[in-house]
């Protein structure tokens, strides 16, 4: 039977592409190696589909329509932004599985907004390019949570949505092996006066919760507290808890952490390891 076999948390910092040389060489190399390591681990999970959970940066969805959570069920391409070294193009998809996640959600209290066709932004385009694409033509299913534009989807709802994704996958007829990527964070102040500040203490605290698989602790953060300590960019913790909740009996394994003020972000790289016994077979 189909199952979620694992997951990852990774950043999507566009400055890695637009101003690569701003960061010290040591950090640049460590970040490159971390993406390569996550990509290699992803490949070893032998996935047949990857769900990537991103955040709109107020470029995909405008004031006229702001979805709380959105699923790409059809054609996918991107990324929208022109970033040096990041090629825009079509991505392989699995509409049958995506539509199944939509349908399962609708039957269980998650009436997804959907994109029948979507050009994803860098929050999905970067993890896709650096972690998924190197492993070949693995279909990608994009999910967007309202993590950067008010009104934000509540953290507890993001967790419930992640569980819904897992249950949907487990009820899919077939042998799909699904990997989930939560894209974002950790601390960064986007467009605010504190832009360039990184709060490693907060980042390490978040990492510890992820390592422990403590979704409740992450959901207990208040948004004002997150913004105060981790900046508005850390509101992307939603993507973390959603991805964690989609992985059975999850625990986290830290692969790399780099606080990179030159790229305005505390960059955390974690694998979400599923408890083998809990993975549906």
């Amino acid at each position: 039977m189909a199952s979620v076999v694992g997951g990852f948390l990774a950043p999507h910092d566009p400055l890695m592409f637009s101003t690569p040389d701003a960061a010290p060489a040591g950090q640049r190399d460590a970040v490159s190696a971390a993406y390569a390591e996550l990509g290699a681990r992803l490949g070893r999970l032998d996935p047949t589909a990857v769900v990537v959970i991103g955040a709109d940066h107020y470029v995909l969805f405008g004031p006229g329509c702001l979805p709380q959570y959105l699923l790409g069920i059809g054609d996918v391409d991107g990324p929208l932004e022109r970033l040096p070294g990041l090629e825009r193009g079509p991505m392989p998809t699995n509409p049958r599985l995506a539509e199944h996640i939509m349908g399962h959600g609708r039957e269980h209290g998650f009436d997804w907004a959907v994109a029948k066709s979507i050009t994803v932004d860098h929050s999905i385009g970067i993890p896709y390019a650096l972690m998924v694409k190197p492993n070949g033509a693995i279909p990608v299913i994009p999910v967007y949570l309202a993590a950067g534009v008010e009104p934000l989807v509540p953290l507890s709802r993001a967790a419930a949505l992640g569980r819904s994704i897992r249950e949907a996958v487990e009820s899919f007829p077939g042998d799909e092996r699904v990997v989930v990527i939560g894209s974002g964070g950790i601390s960064h102040w986007v467009g605010l006066a504190d832009m360039g500040r990184v709060n490693e203490d907060f980042d390490r605290e978040v990492i510890a919760h992820v390592e422990a698989g403590d979704i409740d602790a992450l959901c207990a953060y208040g948004d004002a507290d997150i913004v105060e300590r981790g900046g508005n960019g850390a509101l992307e913790l939603r993507n973390f808890v959603c991805a964690m909740s989609a992985v059975p009996a999850v625990r986290g394994e830290l692969v790399e952490y780099q606080a990179v003020p030159a790229w305005i972000t505390g960059l955390g790289f974690l694998e979400l390891v599923a408890d083998g016994a809990a993975v549906a077979r």
């Binding site: 940066h57 107020y58 470029v59 405008g62 004031p63 006229g64 950067g148 534009v149 008010e150 986007v190 467009g191 605010l192 006066a193 832009m195 360039g196 508005n232």
Partner: protein, 92 residues
Amino acid sequence: MSIYALEKALFDLNVDRPSKQRFRDDPVDFCSRYQLSDDERARVVAFDVRGLVDLGVNPMLTMGYWLELEGSRSLGGYIKRMRAAPEPVGGK
């Protein structure tokens, strides 16, 4: 609500090419298409990003429109402007 009109104007300046061109040609005329107060319009025209964020505009929009349209198009310039004391409300 006015804050929503501000976000609509700045969103258009982030993603819509004709809107960007209209703003370059005549920023006051561009703003006349939105339901903005005189003060709000003045802040948009003057790239008073700090003042706009203080009003509650999403900072991703202010940063985006600065990088698209402000003369320097530089992130450093944006951060400097964000850190400067806010301009007096009400304009001239």
